[in-house]
């Protein structure tokens, strides 16, 4: 089966007054219909720019200078702006992190959903309104007829995010890009929203790209995980495999640095957390070789000279690291 989305060697650059930086640097990944891919990484690693590149919505000082993004066999980067506009919101939809700033404060939420519907479907205003109320009901908003009349500021954060999801789902997209959809929300509301996304995905056989910095969210909702570091994907595998057997030292460090898990039985608390020393390198002056070398306990001469490429090191488990085979050997020896 050919994948729904196939990205090859995507490069997105930004021209700033300090020079040109590569926010997304040679990213390749693919996504099957109905699959959920989690993209994890720290702030500034390029995960949001990757999503915006797929939508072709990158800010004006940025541009996509290389690679291809095939969606249902069509290269999105070759489409005219009218053609990509027709796809945005109908076939590919996006949910943003901050539901307050992504809704228009001066329109009722029902009208905003109806507007999205009428952009892509030939419907009368009345039908669009009925459909928008149906969408609000679908995402679990009580009394949708009344809520459709509300302005964004009258809704709570969780409700607003539901409205955003209702809007994204209104044209039954095949691909949903969710950029930190639960980061601004409380834990109990986060759990509700994640459940909702998983439910809607199953119901509509929709593929989801879930962008987050929270490994817990990925563990709960994704099937595959891609870990990004400084503009590149450093590890890509199935979710169970990544958590059970992380091979890239960065992924391993990330998982180890999470404080005591809530489901630890017994007194599983260690005194100190494992940490990754240092911080993320600046994209303005990247050294030659591997981007993780300064923080990596295994780095040696080769890592300083050559940049590792993403390679399949175990079945369906891709990593970009020179030291991974040794790393694995050490593990089995100890």
């Amino acid at each position: 089966m050919s994948p729904l989305l196939q990205i090859k060697e995507l490069i997105t650059v930004f021209d700033t007054n300090r020079g040109r930086i590569k926010a997304v640097d040679g990213v390749s990944l693919s996504l099957q219909a109905g699959e959920t891919l989690g993209i994890v990484g720290e702030s500034g690693c390029g995960k949001t720019m990757l999503a915006l590149s797929i939508m072709r919505l990158i800010p004006t000082n940025g541009s996509i200078v290389g690679g291809t993004i095939f969606f249902q066999g069509q290269d999105l980067l070759k489409l005219s702006s009218a053609e990509i506009r027709a796809k945005r919101g109908s076939e590919i939809a996006m949910v943003f992190q901050e539901p307050m700033t992504s809704l228009n404060p001066v329109f009722r939420v029902g009208e905003q959903i109806a507007e999205a519907i009428r952009l892509h479907q030939k419907l009368s205003a009345q039908d669009a309104r009925a459909l928008s109320i149906a969408q609000l009901r679908e995402v679990g908003i009580p009394e949708p007829e009344r809520r459709a009349q509300d302005y964004p500021h009258q809704l709570s954060g969780g409700m607003r995010q539901r409205v955003m999801i209702a809007m994204a789902m209104s044209c039954h997209p095949q691909l949903l890009l969710a950029d930190e959809p639960t980061t601004a929300l409380d834990v109990t509301i986060q759990a509700q929203i994640l459940d909702l996304i998983v439910d809607l995905k199953k119901k509509n056989n929709m593929a989801v790209i879930l962008i987050t910095h929270d490994l817990g969210v990925v563990a709960q909702a994704a099937q595959r995980v891609a870990v990004m570091y400084a503009g590149k994907i450093v590890e890509n595998s199935e979710v169970a495999e990544i958590f059970a057997n992380p091979l890239h030292p960065y992924t391993k460090g990330l998982i180890d640095s999470i404080p005591a898990k809530c489901d630890d039985s017994g007194d599983g608390r260690q005194k100190y957390l494992q940490t990754i020393p240092g911080s993320v390198p600046s994209l303005y002056d990247l050294a030659a070789g591997c981007r993780f070398q300064q923080r990596c306990p295994y780095a040696d001469g080769q890592c300083k000279e050559q940049e590792p490429a993403l390679a399949e090191i175990a079945p369906d488990h891709f990593i970009a690291c020179w030291k991974a085979p040794d790393n694995q050997k050490n593990k089995s020896a100890s």
Partner: protein
């Protein structure tokens, strides 16, 4: 353990909201509602709750940035609201805050050195040389080099800025440090560095922490005892392990079941979480609209925080008889 540093009795803080310029009806929001809480010397008390539950208001009341509507806060047996100007200054020397956002809590026009030095000047401590020595020594302790002393906040990363904020809080050698979401603005890998640092400093300086966070994993890692807050009230208070292994209050159970775990094998079945943190009636328990085990009495009477077992407090009419949902 008996040495009580901060003793909070029946503390209330109400804010009045007017719903519009032309409307006369005012709504009173009880941000902190009848809170009783003790902080013992040398412990880390974790305070956890969702946004808007009153965690930060409580922190502001303890530091006396706000005055309570009623109730007392006693520091070593003295009511802090009876302090005069001199006593208040001495008190603030002993109680320091670490803020959430390392970007907005540092003055961008001051170097790291002068930010950390400022409390010494305000409290007229030491002379020029002694201050310099103290600042550089503390910078080394929190993991900053002396070359970084003359840099400005924008030249530091988020984690380093938080180290500056921590040094500023510790320079006066306080007894109590209130850390209000100190790591929630940081990336995971940096978060772990700062948590380790806070643990080290606690030991080195013999500190007492009130550690506020919404992140259950962080609270679990840092705290000795944990207080769970919901809509201005403390609903459960117990030792760390007790809370995590046998939560008694239905809200604590809800919070724990909602937190994502990092184990894809143990993916949680969708728990029934209904509603939002919002009180719909003035009468009865705050949590009644979300509670799965609501009794008739819950609609009429507000449960009070009572000791159910040794050192375990819970504010629930069911008194911890509810079984954890499997």
């Amino acid at each position: 353990m008996a040495d009580i540093l901060i003793d909070i009795q029946k503390l209330n803080k109400k804010y009045t909201l007017s719903s519009g310029i032309l409307t006369a009806n005012k709504r009173v929001v009880p941000a902190v509602n009848n809170v009783d809480l003790q902080i013992y010397r040398g412990e880390t008390l974790g305070l956890v709750g969702e946004s808007g539950c009153g965690k930060s208001t409580l922190a502001r009341l303890i530091t006396r940035l706000e005055k309570p509507s009623s109730g007392f806060i006693c520091f070593k047996g003295e009511n802090i609201n009876s302090y005069d100007k001199v006593a208040l200054k001495a008190y603030r020397r002993n109680v320091q805050l670490i803020f959430q956002d390392p970007y907005s809590s540092l003055n961008p026009r001051k170097s790291a050195f002068s930010i950390i030095k400022e409390p010494l000047i305000i409290h007229r401590t030491g002379d020029r040389d002694k201050r310099r020595e103290a600042v550089l020594e503390l910078m080394a302790k929190v993991g900053l080099t002396s070359e970084q002393a003359n840099r400005y906040p924008h030249e530091f990363s988020g984690g380093q800025r938080q180290r500056i904020g921590i040094a500023r809080a510790l320079i006066l050698k306080p007894e109590l440090v209130i850390a209000d979401e100190p790591v929630s603005a940081l990336d995971v890998s940096i978060q772990a560095q700062i948590l380790n640092l806070l643990k080290d400093l606690k030991q080195d300086f013999g500190l007492t922490y009130l550690f506020i966070s919404h992140d259950l994993n962080v609270i679990r890692h840092m705290s000795d005892r944990i207080a769970v807050m919901y809509l201005g009230r403390i609903v459960e208070l117990a030792e760390n392990d007790d809370i995590y292994h046998h939560p008694l209050h239905p809200y604590t159970q809800l919070l724990l079941s909602a937190a994502p775990t990092c184990n894809p094998q143990k993916r949680k079945k969708p728990v029934t979480i209904k509603g939002e943190a919002k009180s719909e009636s003035d009468q009865g328990c705050n949590f009644q609209n979300r509670c799965l085990d609501k009794l008739p009495v819950c609609e009429k009477q507000q449960p009070v925080l009572t000791e159910i077992e040794n050192k375990r407090f819970c504010a629930c009419h069911l008194g911890g008889l509810i079984k954890l949902q499997e």
